[in-house]
C-alpha cells in the first residue's frame, strides 16, 4: 500500500539541517560557488548511503517535480535530499529504504538502457523508469517530500505564481479581488441586492 495523505501530512519532527551542515554540503557541492547555480554534483560527498546513491536521489528528486532553476533552485532539491539523508542517518529502516530503492532503480536503468539511472540523459526515459516504481514507498517518499518541500514552501510561491494568504493586508478584498479585465465583470452591488428581494 502506498503511503497516503493521512500518514504523510502529519507533522514530523523538524529535520531542518543545521546552518553549519548546510554550508558544508553546499560549499562542497558548489566548490565554493554560489549555492543554486550549476553545481558539480559529483563533488557532493555523503557518507550515509554513499555519494553515488545520494547523487541518484538528487536526480530522482528533480525528476519527481522538475522545474527550471529560476523557479526551484538545485539547492532546494538538494535540501530535500539532505533532509532524507539526515533521516536515514538516524533511522536504519529509512536508510535501507533509500539504499535499496536506489540500487533497484539503477538495476532497472541498466536493464533498460545499460546505464546507471543518473547517466540516462533523456528526461522522458528517466520518467519512464520512475513510472515503473511510482507506487513504491521509496518513490512516494520523494513525492511527498516535494509536495511539502516545494509547493508548501512560501519562499518558492512567488516563482510558482501563488500569492499565499492576504492576512497581512486584511483579505483579498483589498488586494486584487475581482480585478481581471479580459472577461465581463460580475453583478454590481445593486444587482446583487436586487437578486435577494422577495
Amino acid at each position: 500500500m502506498s503511503p497516503d495523505l493521512r500518514a504523510e501530512a502529519r507533522p514530523r519532527p523538524a529535520r531542518r539541517l543545521s546552518r553549519r551542515h548546510f554550508l558544508i554540503t553546499t560549499a562542497v557541492a558548489t566548490g565554493g560557488a554560489v549555492a543554486g547555480l550549476a553545481l558539480p554534483v559529483a563533488a557532493w560527498a555523503n557518507d550515509t548511503i554513499g555519494t553515488a546513491r545520494a547523487e541518484t536521489m538528487l536526480r530522482v528528486m528533480r525528476d519527481t517535480f522538475p522545474h527550471g532553476p529560476q523557479i526551484v533552485s538545485l539547492a532546494t532539491y538538494q535540501r530535500l535530499v539532505d533532509a532524507m539523508l539526515e533521516e536515514a542517518a538516524a533511522d536504519e529502516a529509512v536508510k535501507m529504504l533509500l539504499s535499496d530503492g536506489v540500487d533497484d532503480l539503477d538495476a532497472r536503468a541498466r536493464a533498460a538502457f545499460g546505464l546507471p539511472f543518473t547517466e540516462v540523459t533523456e528526461d522522458y526515459a528517466r520518467e519512464g523508469i520512475l513510472r515503473g516504481i511510482e507506487t513504491t514507498p521509496f518513490f512516494q517518499k520523494f513525492r511527498w517530500a516535494g509536495v511539502f518541500g516545494i509547493y508548501n514552501a512560501p519562499d518558492l510561491w512567488p516563482a510558482l505564481g501563488y500569492e499565499g494568504p492576504a492576512s497581512d493586508v486584511g483579505g483579498f478584498l483589498h488586494a486584487g479581488f475581482s480585478d481581471i479585465d479580459w472577461l465581463p465583470p460580475g453583478p454590481s452591488p445593486e444587482e446583487l441586492l436586487a437578486q435577494v428581494q422577495r
Binding site: R6, T135, R143, V147, G161, G171, G186, Q195
Partner: protein, 526 residues
Amino acid sequence: MTTKFDLDDDSLVVIIGSGAGGGTLANELAQKGIRSVVLEAGPRFGQEDIVNDEWAMFNKISWLDKRISAGEWHGKRNHPTLPAWIVKGYGGSTIHWAGVSLRFQEHEFRMRTLNGEIPGASVADWPLTLAELTPYYEAAERKMGVTGKTTGMPHLPWHNSFRVLAEGARRMGYRDIVSGPMAINSVENDGRPACQQYGFCMSGCMVGAKWSTMITELPRAEATGKCEIRCDAMALKIEHDATGKVTAVLYADGAGNIQRQKARLVCVAGNAIESPRLLLNSASSMFPDGLANSSGQVGRNYMTHNSAGVFAEMPEKVHMNRGTTVAGIISDEARNDPSRGFYAGYRLEILALGLPFLSVFLNPAASGWGREHAQALEKYAYMSGTWICGEDLPQAGNGITLHPTETDQHGLPVPIVTKTPHINEVNMAAHAYEQTGEMYRAVGATKVWNLPSYPASHNMGTNRMAAKASEGVVDGWGRAHDVRNLFVSDGSTFPSSSAANPTLTIVALAIRQAEHIAREMAAGSL
C-alpha cells in the same frame, strides 16, 4: 462561568458531536431551557486557532484516526486510510465547510416515487416533504446568516475565478448562475463581520464571517448555563436498561479514562461514519446487531456526493486564490431529468485551492508527479477550478462496517468505509466533466484536467430515516424506531443525498428535532 454537570445526573440530554447537527441541537435546546452535555471527541478550538495555512489547518482540525477505504471508489485507490475529510473538535466540520447553504429541491425528497425502482440502488423517499421543512430552512438561514431572500443579505461579489466559469456557462446557454446562498456574511451580521475575501474557507474562517458552531451555537449554548461542552470526550458505547431505553454514554476522556455519563435521552451527531459506528459498537444481548438496528439499516446506504473536480488553464491570469473557496454555484443541471442518461442532478460549484493543496489534489493518485504535473502547477496563476456536486444514489452495500481485528487507540474496531459507484454516478460524472470542460473551453481554456474526488466531506445516509420501522433506523424526527429516547441528529439520517451540500439541511432538521424533543419532554413522553 462554565457549567459542569454531574456524571450521575440522569436528567440530561447527552449529545454526541458538536458540529452542524449536535452544535445546533445543543443551542436550540439550551435556549428552551433544556439542559445538555455535549461529548466532543476532539479538542476545543477557537477563533485564535484559525490560520491561513492549508496543511497546518488540515493537521490541526482533521479527523485523522484510522479508517479504512474499501470498495471500488476513489477512496480505496487514492486515500486508503482517509476516506473522509471531516473535523474532530469543537465545532466539528462546520469549521471546514465552505458555507454553501442550498435547500434540497422538492424532487429530492421523493426520488423513489418519481423514478420508480432503480436497479442496484436503494432509493427511498423522505418521510417528510419540502413544504414541511421549509419553515425550518428559513429558521436555519436566519440563524446562520445565509445570503438570500430570507435574510435580505446580498450574495457576495463575484471573484475572478467565478467570473471565468460563469462567463463560460453563459456562453453555453446556462442561466442559473449565482454567488449564493452562502452562510458567509456579505454585510456585518449577528455580531460577526463581513467577509473580506481572505479565502482559505476550508481551513476555518479567519475572521468569523462564515457561520460555524464553533463561534455561534456552542458558545451561545454555554452562555445559557444550560449546556456543558466536554471536549476530548470520545463516545465509546451507548448503554441501555432492561426495558431497552438508553441510560448512559460511556466515553474516554482526555486522559484516556473511561467515564459514564448518565442520560435522559441521547442524540447521536457524530457524522455519517462515527454515528453508525457508535450504534454498531453499542450492540448488546437485547440489540445483537447494534443499537436501533432491527431494520438492518444501520451503517448501510452510505452516500458521499457524486463529486469530482475540473481545473482549467486559462489564457490570462485568474488568481483563483483571491477570495472565498466556493464563491458561486451553477444549478442548471440540478434537475431530475433522466433524458440526460442518468437520474437526479448535479451542481457546479467554483472551488479555489491553494498551491499546497492543488499539488496533491490535481492528481491525488500515486501518479501525481512528473513533468506534466510540475508544468501544470507552474501555471497556478492561470487556473480556475470547479467542484461537481451531484446526487449520489444510495446502495445497500455501501456503508460502514467494523474491522474484525484492527482497533483504534480506544480499543474500538476501526471503521471500514465501503463504497462502489453506481453506474448512474459514472454516467452523471461523465456528463458533468464534459459540460464543465466545455464551459472552460468556451472562454479559451488551453488545458482542462478532470480530477477525481477528494476525501469525502459530505457523508450521508448511514442511519436513514423512514416512516416504517422495517425500512429505516429513525423516523422523520430523527428518533430511533427501536429506542424511543435515542435520536440521530446529523446527515446520516438523509434517505437521499441531493445535489445540495448537506449542512443547511442538517441544521434545519436539528432545529426541528429540538422542537420535537421539547414538545415530547413537556408532554411527559420522553
